[in-house]
Structure formats: C-alpha cells, structure tokens
C-alpha cells in the first residue's frame, strides 16, 4: 500500500528526525512511503483562530495533494484529526470539495493508530532502555481514540518500562495559538503536567504530538529539569532516540 506521509509543519520546522522515524516505521510495516513535496500545513491554526477562509484554502490544498494515495498518515493526532474530522465540515458548503474531503477522511490516520490498526506492524525496529511515561494528546485521545495504540507498541519493546503519570489524559496547556495568546495560563497548566511527569521518575516523557512535546520540554527545562528526555513516540519506536 502507498502511504503518503503528512510531515506536519512543526516536525518540518523543529524536529525533522520525527518525520524520518515515521518513514522508517511505515517502511518496517511494509508500506511504500511517499512524501508529497508541496505539503505545508493542514490549516489548523487558522481554523482554530476563526479564520475559516484561510483554513478552507489550506484544506483544499492538502486534500488535492494527498487524495491520490491509499492513506494519509501523520505523526500527530492533532493534524490527523483536523484532516479527518474537521475538513468535511469545513468544506460543507462546497459539494465538490466536501465530497473529496469525505473521501479522504476515512483514509487519514495518526501514526500509531495506523501502525497498529491498519498496517499491523510486526517488528518494532527501535530499541530503548529505560522507563517512559506517556502523555495523551487531546485531539488524538478524545477525537480519534488514540490511547491503547501507542501503549501497545511500547509494550512490545523489551527494554521499555511504562510508568503511567497522574492525569496522563489531561491537557498540557499547549492549545496551538493559545500558548502564545494566553502564555501565563498555558504555562501554569504545563507546570502541572510537568510535575506529574517528574513524579513518575521516568527517564523519558513520550507523546504523539510535537506541539505538546515542545511545551512540556520548554517547561521542564525552565523548571530546572535537565534529565527527563522528551521524545516523540516515533523516535522511540524507530530507535532514533
């Protein structure tokens, strides 16, 4: 099957290695991976800021680039949710584009969900020695139902010990533009998340969304925690951590 990787704008800019780890995992699961080169952003920042016209423009661009492939896979529950859940409603007024959005939607997956539910990956390529705690990102968890998939994959790595934190399913305070519009509230929420992370004593905090990870890493370091690693699930599964 031909899988088109939606890299996400944050991974493109901040952590390309997550994109390469995702390619490695998809290939390990037997997929042919294509990276459409004109992709940019799914448009979620505009959508959540109330700029519906800009969001619709970028939605059409993304649909056109990804609809030729069997699947769209993103190393982000947030972006996958935007494309899968929100695009059809966003383009509801335009029958042609609405139809194309719906046709794409059912083929859109977050990375761990795709590896477990669709590609049914057999061998996890990476190795990691140590304890990890998993933060559930909001859109992935509550909209796409991503909870067991990353944990199932981690459980298949012999060196990994999962230590669940209190409130793993609570928001980290990122919220996209919320993090820069209401910085002090966002930081206060992040601080609670980081306290819960540190309380587990885990060697690494792992999540499926880079937005959350940048927020958590930024707060951990400002709090003086230099030792907790902050990793994307793809990095740990692919062994690039």
């Amino acid at each position: 099957m031909r899988v088109a990787l939606f890299v996400t704008c944050l991974v493109d800019l901040m952590r390309p290695r997550i994109g390469f780890a995702a390619i490695e995992l998809l290939e390990a699961a037997g997929c042919e991976v294509v990276v459409p080169e004109k992709q940019t952003c799914c448009g979620q920042p505009a959508y959540n800021s109330g700029d519906r016209a800009s969001a619709a423009m970028l939605a059409k661009k993304t649909i056109a680039e990804f609809e030729p492939f069997d699947y769209l896979v993103a190393p982000s529950g947030s972006c996958a949710d935007q494309i899968r859940t929100e695009y059809p409603g966003l383009l509801a007024d335009d029958p042609e584009w609405h139809g194309r959005a719906v046709a794409l939607a059912s083929r859109v997956h977050e990375l761990t969900d795709f590896l477990v539910s669709v590609a049914k990956i057999e061998k996890i390529p990476g190795a990691f020695e140590g304890s990890v705690t998993y933060h559930d990102s909001c859109a992935g968890l509550r909209s796409l139902g991503i909870k067991d998939q990353p944990r199932a994959l981690l459980a298949r790595m012999p060196g990994v010990e999962l230590k669940e934190m209190t409130g793993a399913d609570e928001c980290c305070g990122f919220g996209g533009t919320f993090a820069v519009k209401f910085g002090d509230i966002s930081t206060a929420i992040a601080a609670k998340k980081c306290d819960n992370v540190v309380a587990t004593g885990a060697d690494a905090v792992v999540a499926g969304d880079l937005g959350c990870l940048l927020n958590i890493e930024g707060k951990l370091r400002r709090m003086g925690d230099e030792k907790t690693k902050v990793l994307h699930i793809a990095e740990i599964l692919a062994g690039d951590a």
Binding site: L13, F20, P45, S49, S54, G176, V180, K219, R222
Partner: protein, 468 residues
C-alpha cells in the same frame, strides 16, 4: 451583574499570581472529578442516557414556545402566576412589584444564577427589601460585601475555611472558630431567624415541568425547602430554556444532573413544587410566582449556538477544565465561568463584551467529553471565534498575520524559503544550545518556558538531500 469579561487576561494573570487562591484551587481540583467518575458508573448505559438527555433537550428547544405555553397553562391552573422577563431589569421590576404588592420587608433566597444575571439583590435593597442569601456559599459571599460566585454550584470554591472563619467572626460578632461543623451550626443559627421572619422566598429552578406546572429544585442544604415553603410568597426565577415536558423526562435528567455535578447519586434534597397551598395542605406558599427569563436565550434558539441551551447547569465542564482549574471562576468576569461561561457570556452579554473568553481555551475537549447533554463546547467556542473574525473583533495585527501566514502556506516554494530562514534564525537564537530563553516573536511563550531549539534544517531540505 456588571460585565468585566473584557479584562479577562489581566484578571487571569492576577489570579495566577494570587498564592492563596492557587492553594485553594489546588485543594479543590479533582474533588468533583473523582466523585463524578465513580458516580457515572452506577448508570448501566451512561452514554445511552446522555444521548437520550441530549435528544430530550433538543426536542423541547425545537418547540420551546409551545412547551412554555403548556407550562404556563398548567402552573396557572394550580394557582400560580407566570410572568415573563425580557432582561435583568425586567426581572428586578417584577420581583420588586411582587414585594410591594405583598408588603414584603425581607426576602430569603435559595440559589439562583438568574438573580445574579439581574443583580436582583441590589434592586431589592434599593426598594427597601432586605435580601438574605441562605445557600451557605451564597451567604458567605453576601456577607463578604456581595462578592460574586466563582462556581455555579460551589460558589465559594475559591475560599478556604480560614477565610470563612474570619468573615463569620467579623459579621456574627462571635468567637472565631475553624471547625466546619461548628461554622455551619453558627450559620444555621443566624439563618434560622431569617427563615422564620421572611415575607417572601426567592428560588431558582433546575427544571420546569410542563405537564404539571411544577418547578424542580436540586439542593444539598435544605435551605431551598425553608425558602419555598415558609414564607407566604414564593417567587421562582429561571430561564425559559429550563422547561421539560414531563415528570418522566425529569427522572431522566435527574439521573445525570447530581452525578455530573457533585458525583452524588441523588442530591440531599430534591423537591418538585406544584401550585399554591391548598386548603388541605399543611404548608406551602399562598402566592406563587414564576418569573421566566429570556435575557438573550430566545436569540440562541435556532441559531448556530442552539446546542448551548441544552445546558442543565451541572458545572462538570468547569470542574474538568484545565483553564478553570488554573484561574478559578472570577477571572471570567460575569455570572457563568469555565467553558459554559465562555459561550454563555458572549451570547447573553454580547460577543463584543467578552472577546477573550471563547479564545481562552486549549480546545482540549475534556468539557464536551464530560457534558451530560453532549454540548459540543469546543466547537461552539470555535464558532464564536469565527464570528469574532467576521465582525473584526480580533486585533487587526492578528487577523493580518493569519492571512499572511496562510497565503504563504498556500505557496509551497515561498513557504519552503520562509521556513529555511525561520529555522536558521531560531537556531542562531539558541546560540548552539538546545533552547531559546527569550523569543521576541513569542514573548508569552518564553516568559515562563524555554522554547526548544530546532534541529537545524527543515525536513524538506533533509529529505531532498536524501533522495538519490
């Protein structure tokens, strides 16, 4: 009530800096979350029950006028008088008129958020009627110079026992005590004389039952019964959206309300009050008035925000909200805090008077995940954001920045160039390290957090380099 929602951001910052409040919030956090999680397991099919409750509320709201007429007919047939109030000022006029008609000097009150919307206590006092709040939380706020509530069901969520002890000692002129049973006993002693001497009782209403013309009251302190049965006049003030067709429907919603609110299977007191005192009845008011309030609700019927009117005021959304948990209820600046308040305040008090509220959410979705009537709260906040953009209520710089960014993101070559520069600039700011301490482009981020440095090149550059 005066709207202070335009000062949300500054108020929220002050609440974050208030160490005492933060201690109280930390202590309160999770209490109702944990009890709710246990209580909803008692229901065999919680999801099915929620869907049934949603469908019921939608059915009523679709024909709201008809159900209200039926309620009016039934309530009137049982001796009550139904009055309609377009806004807060009309609520005050009605209640003051009723007080004058019956020569009322003192009115005891059970909890009513509508009376907060109207600022009723001030209007009563100005008309020479002494209002006495009898819900313990509301009473504490009243003796603290009419402080507004910070939560819809736990109005003094933001206070601790020491603060209440100080207030009681100052107001009651009795020795200061911090033992909670002793404090509640003292409140009971003070309030009892008010219950016995009040000429009028004012309550809210959790639901109005159309088939019987009844009001249902859900309380935990018993004050609701004193207020609604002892005085000769009882005035119910509630929103027009609170009507439901039948007692059977009431039982459905009552399976969800206390469990979602406090995690109780049933509240300590649950009253269904119907009509005036009959000759063969031992108690109840001789005169019963319903003041049914619009105050913005009618405009929401049939609008793109109509799902908000399903709300049964349980408070689960705020109990589970990471923003509410961090700043408490006062920062929201009007009657209703948390996610439901971030939608109700702009709808009822004007979208231009509460511009921050729908934006002050991470859209984490926890509120809609726990809502007993499945209100898509994040979706409604997002729609309000769209309306703000359409009506140019967002800052020009923000609107232009979004447009410019989207324009670039729609042009891959330009976007690639832009990110090529951006990533190098960020890397330079990090100065070879793994973090940026001060990011001028995002000062709100780096005031309390570091900004992790980028890897160094964009994915698209590295991917292209890898291609043979």
């Amino acid at each position: 009530m005066e709207i202070r929602s335009m000062r949300f951001k500054a108020n929220a910052s002050a609440k974050l800096a208030d160490a005492g409040l933060q201690r109280n919030l930390r202590k309160a956090k999770g209490k109702f979350v944990d009890t709710r999680a246990v209580a909803i397991k008692e229901i065999d099919d919680f999801e099915g029950t929620r869907r049934a409750a949603r469908d019921l509320r939608d059915r009523v709201l679709k024909d709201l006028d008809l159900w209200l007429e039926r309620f009016e007919t039934q309530a009137t047939a049982r001796g009550a008088t139904v009055l309609w109030a377009r806004d807060g000022a009309e609520i005050c006029r009605h209640v003051v008129d009723i007080a004058r008609r019956h020569g009322v000097k003192k009115a005891t009150k059970s909890k009513s958020m509508l009376s907060e919307e109207a600022g009723l206590n001030q209007a009563l006092a100005a008309a020479g009627v002494e209002p006495v709040e009898t819900d313990l939380g509301e009473y504490i706020l009243q003796i603290n110079d009419n402080e507004p509530p910070s939560h819809i069901i736990a109005p003094v969520m933001h206070k601790n026992v020491e603060q209440v002890a100080d207030l009681f000692a100052k107001t009651h002129h009795k020795p200061r005590k911090t033992d909670i049973p002793q404090l509640t006993r003292e409140a009971r002693e003070v309030l009892r004389s008010h219950f016995l001497t009040a000429d009028m009782g004012i309550s809210g209403g959790n639901f109005l039952v159309a088939e019987t013309g009844s009001v249902a009251l859900v309380t935990n302190e018993g004050n609701g019964r004193m207020v609604t049965t002892l005085p000769k006049v009882h005035v119910v003030i509630t929103g027009i959206e609170k009507v439901i067709p039948t007692l059977e429907d009431l039982s459905l919603l009552m399976r969800l309300l206390p469990r979602s609110a406090t995690g109780q299977s049933i509240s300590n007191y649950f009253s269904v009050l119907t009509g005036v005192k009959q000759p063969d009845e031992s108690d109840g008011p001789e005169h019963l008035y319903f003041v049914l309030v619009d105050n913005g609700r009618a405009d929401v019927v049939g609008s793109e925000y109509h799902e908000m009117l399903r709300c049964i005021r349980c408070g689960a959304c705020m109990n589970h909200c990471p923003v509410y948990q961090s700043i408490g209820g006062h920062a929201y600046g009007w009657v209703y805090p948390g996610p439901m308040g971030s939608i109700l305040t702009p709808l009822y008090a004007g979208i231009e008077n509460a511009v921050d509220l729908p934006n002050a959410a991470t859209l984490c979705g926890q509120c809609s995940a726990v809502c007993p009537v499945l209100i898509p709260l994040p979706e409604l906040m997002r729609k309000l954001r769209e309306e703000q953009v359409e009506r140019k209520l967002r800052p020009l710089a923000e609107r232009l920045a979004l447009k410019a960014w989207a324009w670039v993101a729609n042009r891959p070559a330009l976007y690639a160039l832009g990110t090529w520069f951006a990533v190098r600039y960020l890397k330079w700011l990090a100065g070879g390290g793994d973090r940026i301490r001060v990011l001028a482009a995002a000062p709100e981020w780096t005031a309390g957090r570091d900004f992790p440095a980028p890897q160094g090149k964009t994915f698209r550059e590295l991917y292209r380099q890898r291609q043979p």
